[in-house]
């Protein structure tokens, strides 16, 4: 079905729904690379007018990627909750934006609505939203998950501690981990991107993290971000695995590019759940996503990269994850060219994930060939903290020496928590207090040279096996 909008003296035609969505998207290099972007700003606005007038219900009758061809589409359609959708079923996409911003859209109303929303509805409305809208709506969404710590509570900002090392050297990983703990990082997860994806290496690293956690009685979870099949084999061999990690995307073909399908994720989810390693909750999956992954896998079906990103959240939602984060600036300038595009995408991904009921975090990051720097990351971090992001990722000094990109520094997490009066996860906050790292106001000041925690944590004999 084609869509039209008259703007000035021109009639703009959009051949189908995915073309309309792509043309309504804010400008970004990945859609231009795919040949999907509007070729003028006026055409982009014509698409937004047409989209604003479109009934939300349209997305239930016109699939962007055919049901028969794609298991992600089938998941979206089969899981749609018509009763939850009922309160907004009469709205257009434009009317839906107004409703989301209204005082009627309370945290409770948004949580109840989430199962009634499809990724395409959420992507569509986000294209009509300014950055301020994306922040305001996300800030109203609450998604709380738990394993050994509770994440997503109001007034909290959690952090994945990412202690990557180019050769997975145990002492090097431990050094980055302990450095982060002294900044109060790691309440979301201590999560390592391994340099090699082998089962024995994965088990060795899981055992190291588990020993560290038990030695200091840290109320958090660890994760080695290996392929899901590696995690499955590790669990079969009895490894102390808390969370199963996997990168996911918004089409069956792109997921195949990652070497996964829904059946494999179901198998891994069941295996991890049966270990029952969580103490305060049982959410045991961790997913990463990022705009552009489907195009780079040549499996985008002519759908714009932001809509595909939100479709990936339908995959995540199926498995009640503890953590989901977009790796927003990692993919490079051919998908998100500069800081303007990265910041916008980070806010979109966070808001859209939250609307679908996901515990969204963001890796606030960029590569050296993108037009961005640490000043831009400061901006995005403050915006996301304002929007109530569940967690961010931090590495020593913002420099990931394994993946060669820049994320946040541990410093940035402390600074933002203090600036915005946000606390770590409650169980982890209590541990920081027990370690003597917090002052009377609950802040985490620089530890002195005689700090008990510093001496305890850095006394490393035995960890460098």
């Amino acid at each position: 079905m084609a869509y039209h909008h008259d703007l000035g003296v021109r009639r703009h035609r959009f051949d189908d729904l995915k073309t309309l969505l792509a043309c309504a998207s804010p400008r970004r290099s990945g859609d231009e690379l795919a040949g999907l972007a509007a070729d003028s700003d006026e055409r982009r606005m014509a698409a937004r007018y047409a989209l604003a007038e479109l009934p939300l219900r349209s997305f239930l009758s016109e699939a962007l990627i055919p049901y028969e061809d794609d298991e992600v589409t089938r998941l979206i359609v089969d899981r749609h909750d018509a009763a939850a959708f009922a309160p907004v079923a009469h709205l257009t996409v434009g009317g839906f934006r107004d409703w989301l911003l209204s005082y009627a859209a309370t945290s409770e109303a948004l949580a109840a609505l989430a199962p009634g929303l499809t990724p395409e509805m959420v992507a569509a409305v986000s294209k009509l939203m300014r950055n301020q809208d994306l922040i305001a709506v996300a800030a109203k969404c609450r998604v709380v998950t738990a394993f050994r710590s509770t994440l997503g509570l109001p007034g909290r900002l959690a952090c994945r501690l990412q202690p990557n090392h180019p050769t997975d050297d145990p002492l090097g990983i431990a050094a980055s981990t302990l450095d982060g703990l002294l900044f109060g990082a790691g309440d979301a997860v201590i999560g390592l991107n391994p340099a090699t994806d082998s089962v024995p290496d994965c088990i060795r690293l899981l055992e190291m993290f588990d020993a560290l956690r038990q030695r200091f009685e840290i109320p958090t979870q660890s994760c080695v971000l290996a392929h899901v099949t590696t995690s499955l084999r590790a669990m079969e061999r009895g490894a102390p695995l808390d969370l199963v990690f996997q990168s996911i995307a918004g089409s069956e073909g792109a997921n195949r590019g990652f070497g996964i399908d829904l059946a494999l994720l179901r198998e891994a989810h069941a295996a991890a759940r049966s270990l029952k390693r969580g103490t305060v909750g049982g959410h045991c999956m961790y997913f990463e996503t990022g705009q552009g992954s489907a195009l780079s896998a040549n499996a985008h079906h002519g759908v714009d990269q932001q809509t595909l990103e939100v479709r990936a959240y339908a995959v995540a939602r199926e498995f009640q994850p503890l953590l989901v984060n977009t790796v927003v600036g990692f993919i490079g300038p051919e998908y998100l060219y500069d800081a303007k595009q990265i910041i916008r995408a980070g806010l979109e991904d966070h808001c859209c994930g939250k609307l679908l009921g996901l515990p969204m975090g963001v890796d606030v990051c960029y590569t050296n060939h993108a037009e961005a720097d640490q000043d831009d990351m400061d901006t995005l971090l403050v915006l996301l903290a304002t929007a109530g992001v569940n967690f961010v990722i931090a590495v020593p000094g913002a420099d990931d020496v394994m993946l060669s990109y820049q994320s946040l520094s541990y410093h940035d997490v402390v600074a933002t928590r203090h600036l915005m009066n946000l606390k770590p996860a409650p169980e982890f906050e209590a541990w920081l207090a027990r370690m003597g790292l917090l002052d009377a106001q609950g802040r985490l000041p620089p530890p002195g040279a005689d700090s008990r925690a510093l001496r305890q944590l850095l006394a490393l004999e035995g960890l460098s096996r």
Binding site: S176, N368, A449
Partner: protein, 260 residues
């Protein structure tokens, strides 16, 4: 009094024992909640160098001089400038239409075509391309070599079109790798059997991490010669060519972490 003794090293820098185990920026200290000034400037310097490497220009005239008497030829991709190159990887993978005839005129019977591509680090190509080629040539005196192609605004896959136009049985693309903060001049080599338009990345083998603190020219050349001999014998490159047995492969090469 104990005050007369020097303090133990771990009180001067409690991280001293850990820094040897990682290049990560641990134990930077804090100015309030922020980075201390020196750490801030160190980081910005590293980022500045990385950006300079990405946006720099390769001095191909100098490289052509260093390669002599080996003949070389300069070519452009379809990306007209750096900004377009970064946005449009597809343009960087194709030859400029005007440059194809000069290349096709050199079509011949070649065992190997060498392509030098600026990729994402001009600094890497300026520093390492010519000495690496010299180290390679010492090891393959009997190979029939095509004129060396020096390609501007070029990505790895440009070698497919070049190799096909030249009629070479193998193409090795020497390319500047995406700079990190610690190393901005790392060179990579991608080897492709029977190059032609549309080859997939899974049909190539990669040697990564060639720089002063990584693989040496000799190590990289040994590995490349080993791969080329295997490729010629088995008439393929890529995932089916087991690189586990190759000598001195860099860690990044083993881990499929080659960064174009």
């Amino acid at each position: 009094m104990s005050a007369l003794k020097p303090p133990p090293a771990d009180l001067v820098d409690p991280y001293a024992g850990l820094r040897v185990a990682t290049r990560a920026r641990i134990g930077l200290g804090r100015s309030g909640d922020a980075l201390p000034t020196t750490a801030l400037l160190d980081f910005q310097t590293a980022h500045g160098r990385a950006r300079d490497a990405v946006h720099g220009v390769v001095d191909y005239e100098r490289i052509a001089g260093l390669l002599q008497p080996l003949p070389s030829l300069r070519l452009r991709s379809r990306a007209p400038d750096r900004a377009s190159y970064l946005r449009r990887p597809d343009w960087g993978r194709r030859l400029h239409a005007e440059d194809l005839p000069a290349l096709s005129a050199l079509h011949g019977d070649y065992d190997l075509a060498l392509v030098v591509a600026d990729g994402l680090s001009a600094a890497a190509v300026n520093a390492h391309a010519a000495p690496l080629i010299a180290a390679l040539l010492e090891r393959i005196p009997n190979w029939k070599l095509a004129p060396v192609v020096l390609a501007q605004q070029a990505r790895v896959a440009l070698g497919d079109e070049v190799g096909e136009a030249l009629g070479a049985r193998l193409v090795a693309v020497l390319v500047g790798e995406r700079p990190g903060l610690s190393i901005a001049d790392s060179l990579g080599i991608y080897l492709t059997w029977a190059p032609r338009l549309g080859r997939a990345d899974s049909e190539r083998n990669c040697i990564s991490n060639i720089h002063a603190d990584g693989l040496s020219y000799a190590q990289a050349a040994d590995t490349l010669v080993w791969l080329m001999a295997e490729a010629r014998q088995r008439r393929l490159t890529g995932v089916e060519l087991k690189v586990d047995a190759a000598p001195a492969l860099g860690e990044a090469a083993r881990n499929d972490l080659c960064l174009e």
